[in-house]
Amino acid sequence: MEAMLFYLVALVSVISAFFVTKCRNPINSALCLVTTFLCLAVFYVMLQAPFMAAIQIMVYAGAIMVLIIFVIMLLNIGSVGKSRYTHGVAGAIVLSFLSFIVAAKFIAGGTVSKAVGDISAEVVQSYGHTELIGKAMFTEFLLPFEIASILLLVAIVGAVILSKRKV
């Protein structure tokens, strides 16, 4: 059951990812990307990370993609241009394929750590995923959290400066 679901969703995600690179109209690409993101959210649920699934949908599929689509509409360029691709498509295909081969080789040939931490499925069930995330974030990873706030500040200031019309 789980396996079937995995392969089905995986297939959808790969196909929609492929269409991101394929669609002539950027809007269609964006919609395909949203589909991929939703598939990933499904995986996150399957991996017992419901909170991550939620913010995947809210932040990625929601905020970021809305921003992107907004910009596409703002620039109002639709499907312009003679061709979607630049030169060297064949090379890129070979290269991407090679990089996948390399990745497959080290994934299949490698072993991940067997060390089992204390966060088992049962723990997630009993505590709740959100609480676990929150705990980790505000204890162990407090500093990265604060740095992230600076990062967002920088991004906001930067975006304002860059897109203002007048000095």
């Binding site: 072993t111 931490g117 204890t139 600076i150 930067g158 000095v167």
Partner: protein, 486 residues
């Protein structure tokens, strides 16, 4: 919940992030202050940011020899971090000094420029002091995002747009590879802590037969190699350096590069120590490739700013020699070299800032013709920086290079040292050409537009002092660099 707050506070150690904390506070205050200033008035912000840097510098120096760890092993303020913090602060300070008149000349007197430089520096500090890949990654991103903005700062100029976009796309692309590397290392070791990774790899019985480790290590390195501009991940460097505002180019070539080296060294030297043989061999090839490409392509350049970009690639190659050596001499050599490079390269760019016309259209070799006679001070200053970049004694460039190459020799890499020497012999050709134009050509222009801005002159003078001091009496600073190795 009280319990949670208590746990959270336990690992908090403000001492360990004090410099970056102060810098961020200054940055945010400056953002606020700039709101109340009339448009186009940036001088107060400029000077306040200098004050911020000085204060941060003092705090950093106070933390010398007093290592502070905190945030559950996410950050440590040791001598190593402090040395790099100071390097980045110097880079930021020199950059800000030359920026104000430049921004007014180019028509972008935007006060937010300065806080962004402060945030970049803070990001650099987190990279230098991070002991968790998460901290390092976020520091890198703060640094990168601010630099994307700064590189594209002249939003009305196509050149600046192009620089910003190229940097952004390639930077984000390399982030993808780097993250993949982090993920693999996390999968193999179960942690993202620098020390934890080292421990896990050491305990692993079949570490050498697990390709995931080496793949993760290489992919992680790529993020850093991209930032330091090592071949074949250097392609962005010339374009971005040429298109970005000149002070930003100066800053990019020194501060962020130093920070990238800092994080790179910490990660390789601590986490990946077990992989020394493989990594060292990779660095050997990359160092030679980087030096050679940088130097050879620089020969063909007519634009001085672009030429300095290629030269910066080759200097990254020299510094990589220290990584190949993988011993204290080589590593402390990199620390020292980054400081040296900060002075000499920012100095050279500061001269370019002054001699550029509005719109930066006078940075070709022909534009430099006769500079030595028309503007003797700038000529002499440029000559000193070029000598240092060439690596001629008794300037800092020589002592720095010698330090690094001595490390390589200690580890037995004679050929690498000789290739390095050969490369610096090649590099002479293009540096010398600038000198030839400055001194042996009749002036085409009269340089009447050159305004000797006080602040920029100060930054040139500081850079000259640094180059000469580190060239003639580098002993004390070398001592500090040696004390800074973990």
């Amino acid at each position: 919940m009280e319990n949670l707050a208590q746990i959270a506070m336990e690992s908090v150690n403000f001492q360990a992030i004090m410099p970056s904390l102060v810098l961020c506070c200054f940055g945010m205050v400056l953002l606020l202050v700039s709101v109340f200033l009339e448009r186009g008035r940036t001088a107060p912000i400029c000077w306040l940011s200098i004050i911020g840097l000085v204060v941060t510098g003092i705090i950093s120096i106070n933390g010398w020899n007093d290592p502070q760890a905190g945030f559950a092993g996410g950050v440590v303020l040791d001598n190593f971090a402090t040395f790099f913090n100071l390097t980045c602060l110097i880079a930021a300070g020199l950059t800000i000094l030359m920026s104000d008149s430049y921004l007014h000349r180019e028509g972008y007197p935007v006060a937010e420029y300065y806080p962004l430089i402060l945030f970049t520096t803070a990001g650099a500090m987190w990279m230098a002091s991070g002991t968790d890949l998460m901290t390092i990654f976020l520091g890198l991103e703060v640094l990168s995002v601010s630099l994307y903005v700064l590189a594209g700062f002249f939003r009305g100029q196509l050149r600046s747009n192009e620089a910003g976009l190229k940097y952004f796309f390639l930077g984000a692309f390399s982030t993808g590879f780097m993250l993949y590397g982090v993920a693999l290392l996390y999968g193999v070791t179960g942690t993202t802590k620098v020390a934890g990774i080292a421990e896990a790899i050491r305990l692993m019985p079949d570490a050498s037969s697990n390709p995931m480790i080496i793949a993760g290590a290489i992919l992680l390195s790529i993020g850093f190699l991209f930032k330091i501009g090592a071949a074949p991940f250097h392609m962005w460097t010339p374009d971005v350096y040429q298109g970005a505002p000149t002070p930003i180019t100066a800053f990019m070539s020194a501060g962020p590069k130093a920070a990238a080296f800092a994080a790179f060294m910490r990660v390789t030297y601590i986490s990946l120590d077990s992989l020394q043989v493989d990594m060292s061999a990779m660095f050997w090839v990359l160092a030679v490739l980087t030096m050679t490409i940088g130097n050879f392509v620089a020969i063909a350049q007519k634009d001085v700013k672009r030429m300095l970009a290629f030269s910066s690639i080759s200097h990254a190659g020299y510094a990589l020699v220290g990584m190949v050596a993988w011993n204290e001499v080589g590593f402390s050599g990199i620390l020292f070299y980054m400081l040296v490079y900060t002075f000499m390269n920012i100095g050279a760019f500061a001269v370019l800032v002054l001699i550029g016309k509005q719109g930066e259209d006078n940075l070709t070799l022909d534009g430099m013709a006769g500079l030595g006679y028309k503007r003797p001070f700038l000529g002499v200053a440029m000559a000193i920086f070029l000598f240092s970049l060439m690596g001629l004694p008794p300037t800092a460039g020589f002592t720095g290079k010698f330090f690094i190459f001595a490390g390589a020799l200690k580890a037995g890499y004679v050929w690498l040292a000789i290739l390095g020497v050969l490369n610096s012999a090649v590099s002479l050709y293009y540096y010398l050409r600038v000198m030839v134009y400055m001194y042996f050509r009749d002036p085409v222009e009269d340089f009447s537009w050159v305004k000797m801005e006080m602040a920029t002159i100060v930054s040139i003078l500081i850079a000259i002092a640094g180059v000469l001091y580190l060239g003639v009496l580098p002993g004390p600073v070398m001592e500090l660099a040696k004390l800074s190795i973990f």
